[in-house]
Amino acid sequence: MSAQTGRKQAFVRELLGRSDYAIIGEIVEPQTKVLDLGCGEGELLEWLAQTKGVDARGVEISSAKVQRAIARGVSVFQSDIDDGLSGYPDQAFDYVILSQTLQETRHPRQVLREMLRVGRRGIVAFPNFGHWRVRVSMLTSGGAPRTRLFPYEWYESPNIHFLTVHDFENLAALEGIQVDRRYFLAGSRKVRTLPNLMAEVAVYLVSRG
């Protein structure tokens, strides 16, 4: 597997304090229709609407976050992601975004399928459980790993499905999902080699080919 990156710079400038947002902001083309699953308070959607003129929609489970998103003018509806997609017609969006959300869903495989039914392309960003710090943390402490990206106690973590770069690639292959672009990040630095070991966050642009 080659770490194919879209840009030559070694660093990405953060967007709204997040480097995966910067990648997503770069991928999304202007004047498109975007659905963000697990959109939180809608910061990314607001940015995409204002900067790229996209038609921005979101799904979020937390009432408080939905309220703040709507208050900033983003069309968000309160729903569980696992069934938040079922009502949409096929190919309703140009992009469906899962930004650090896939690991929190109950049925990630189903979510990925639905994502590419509803959207022509999917953008999936997730924390890489294969990162060396995670491995070291688990090996040395003997407990559930705690790192910068996985700061939670096991009993408080929203993450219920831990996946690695390898795992995602394998599932994509199994599901016949085409990876159009892949980005690997450690902090704001782009990772070029051994992404499964070195990347803290992976961002994939996927489609049905």
Binding site: S63, I70, V74, S75, V76, F77, Q78
Partner: protein, 368 residues
């Protein structure tokens, strides 16, 4: 802000029942200024027992409007920015033609000779009002409960005239439970001997029946929690039970008070007609599915429900949201946490305000 009501008269209105009402009058209030582009109108739609006096202070009664906490300068429906209109519904008793109005053919109040009306008829009259005011398109239609039904009807019946719709604590059609509560209210009125088949004008009012109907209504507007908090089992002005059937509990006193107060301001026949219009309302209206009925809709939506509202439970709003989503409509939805039951849309306004303010601002921005 002192506000005055205006009344317009139209020659006739064709009704869904096939009947024609002629002439017909509509009473409305407005707040703020219509802008030059005529793009800042918000049509506020009142609930079952509301009226055109939505905001400001009425010079007659000195009372604030029923949504004064939401409409005004700097408020959610900001009258510094928007031109807000609210009219009394068709069938009402607060200025717009209803069963207590004079039948021109007889010179007496219509009573039960008033034709049965629908939410669609109410909306058609509002559209005539906007035509008369020279307003082709509204920035938003908004209302809670029956006001939400009218907002939905607007979005479906006049898709090109509605930029955004904000249906709050409402439904696309009444459930059996909702129809049942309305029927209890109607039966209470009709069982009152003073109702006299609707001919009570100028005589003793069917006050007992109307008060009982209102008492039932009030129970459905509150939640178990809010009643427990407000009344508990506290006794009213006594230390011990009276061992009679006078008022013992605070809650009894409250319901009797609200029931009797209602008799002074609401027409018993309007109660019958308007509650029937709500029961008849069904947005699917001949379509096989709700999504089918929403086919022509162009508006963007902000749908709000309240966690403790058991009269218009969140599942009804969620059904609407799902159908809108299947049409790929632009829809925002949230269930707000509130203890006040169905009344939440009138009393619990802090969170509602920030939602509405942001939603309207972004809608208005996209428009201009």
């Amino acid at each position: 802000m002192i506000v005055t009501a205006n009344t317009l008269r139209f020659d006739s209105l064709s009704l869904d029942s096939g009947a024609t009402l002629s002439p017909v009058e509509v009473t409305y209030e407005s707040y703020g200024e219509l802008n030059a582009a005529k793009s800042n109108t918000i049509l506020v739609l009142h609930a079952f027992s509301g009226d055109a006096h939505a905001a400001g202070i009425s010079p007659e009664t000195g009372q604030p409007g029923w949504w004064d906490n939401m409409i005004g300068p700097g408020k959610a429906y900001d009258t510094n920015k928007y031109f807000v209109i609210c009219s009394n519904v068709l069938g009402g008793c607060r200025g717009t033609t209803g069963p207590s109005s004079i039948h021109p053919a007889t010179g007496c109040p219509y009573g039960m000779s008033f034709p049965v009306i629908t939410i669609g008829d109410m909306v058609r009259l509002q559209a005539m009002l906007l035509d008369a005011l020279g307003i082709e398109r509204v920035l938003a239609v908004t209302g809670g409960s029956m006001g939400g039904m009218q907002a939905l009807e607007w979005a479906v019946a006049y898709p090109a005239r509605v930029v955004a719709a904000i249906p709050i604590a409402t439904t696309t059609r009444h459930s059996a439970q909702q129809i049942a509560f309305n029927e209890v209210g109607r039966q209470a009125i009709m069982a009152d001997p003073h109702w006299n088949a609707g001919n009570f004008y100028g005589q003793e009012l069917p006050g007992r029946g109307l008060a009982v109907a209102r008492m039932v209504g009030h129970i459905t507007y509150m939640s178990d929690d809010s009643m427990r908090e407000k009344f508990g089992r506290r006794l009213r002005g006594k230390e011990a039970f009276g061992f009679d059937f006078e008022v013992d509990f605070e809650v009894e006193s409250y319901l009797r008070y609200r029931g009797n107060q209602f008799v002074g301001r609401f027409d018993a026949n309007s109660y019958l007609y308007i509650s029937k219009a709500m029961d008849y309302f069904d947005l699917t209206n001949g379509n096989r599915s709700l999504a089918g009925a929403l086919e022509a809709v162009q508006a963007r939506f902000l749908v709000i429900s309240f966690s403790s509202d058991w009269l218009y439970p969140s599942y009804q709003s969620q059904e609407l949201v799902r159908a809108l989503r299947s049409r790929n409509c632009d829809v925002a939805y949230v269930e707000l946490e509130s203890n006040y039951g169905h009344d939440s849309f009138l009393v619990d306004v802090a969170e509602q305000s920030s939602l509405v303010r942001g939603f309207l601002a972004s809608t208005f921005e996209k428009l201009s």
